[in-house]
Assembly symmetry: C2
Amino acid sequence: MNIGEVAERSGIPTKTIRYYEDIGFLHPKRNENGYRIFEDTELHKLTFIGRARSLGFNIEECRALLALYEDKDRGSADVKKIAQQHVQEIEDKIADLIAMRDTLTHLINACAGDHRPDCPILDNLSDGKGE
Amino acid sequence: MNIGEVAERSGIPTKTIRYYEDIGFLHPKRNENGYRIFEDTELHKLTFIGRARSLGFNIEECRALLALYEDKDRGSADVKKIAQQHVQEIEDKIADLIAMRDTLTHLINACAGDHRPDCPILDNLSDGKGE
DNA sequence: CTTGACCTTCCAGTGACTGGAAGCCTTAGA
DNA sequence: TCTAAGGCTTCCAGTCACTGGAAGGTCAAG
């Protein structure tokens, strides 16, 4: 397969695939004209990475997961640990965002939203009060 | 005030304050030795930006909010609109994160997390099934 | 007079891509 | 056989909002 076909089948853009090669995820062979040739194993790897990324794992976590995937002797505990840490990070982010949303919603509800200049949102940004 | 004092009082690192000057948020005067001198208005502005950033507004949104804050003739509707758009973005992010968390939690619960190699988490990343 | 805490500028790196330029390769059609 | 389109290559720069570090000037205390 050429890179275009792999991109289509994995759902990962060609640019990103080349980037993944740069950072050592893949080592596709080249044919005599310099084009990358991908095997099914590489397509599979890319799809794996794509799924992990869409679950919010960063590149280093993907690397670790991939290494575990390819290690037939690993215990599932290692994988579970990475996933649990990641869930905790996600929970933290959710909590931060909810706090932001709640503050903002509160301010928005207090704001008339008309032609007059009084604005609790700006007042809060200006003096930190009004919550 | 020198930059160090402003940093302490606003809670914004000196590096970031210099960066904010670079991108045109501030225009502190300089004294003869080249040091920046900050007035209270600049400290106030920085604190404003700090609060807006902590509510998740990006730099351009902060710029817009600051401009509205300094425009005595604006209507609160303009501010409310920016805030509402921002809340919508936050809601979207929260929804994405919750979806990730739920998928992961589901997989984690299905994973024994022991010394054995079977792992539903890796299986899911590998073949997309198991949800 | 030295030490240490400030301050300055400039350059590079972060994460994970993404866009664009310049140029080679391949294939289908006129 | 020429040509045009599309796919492929590399390399460089930009994104966002900082952050770290180097190299050096300034200032106040002891």
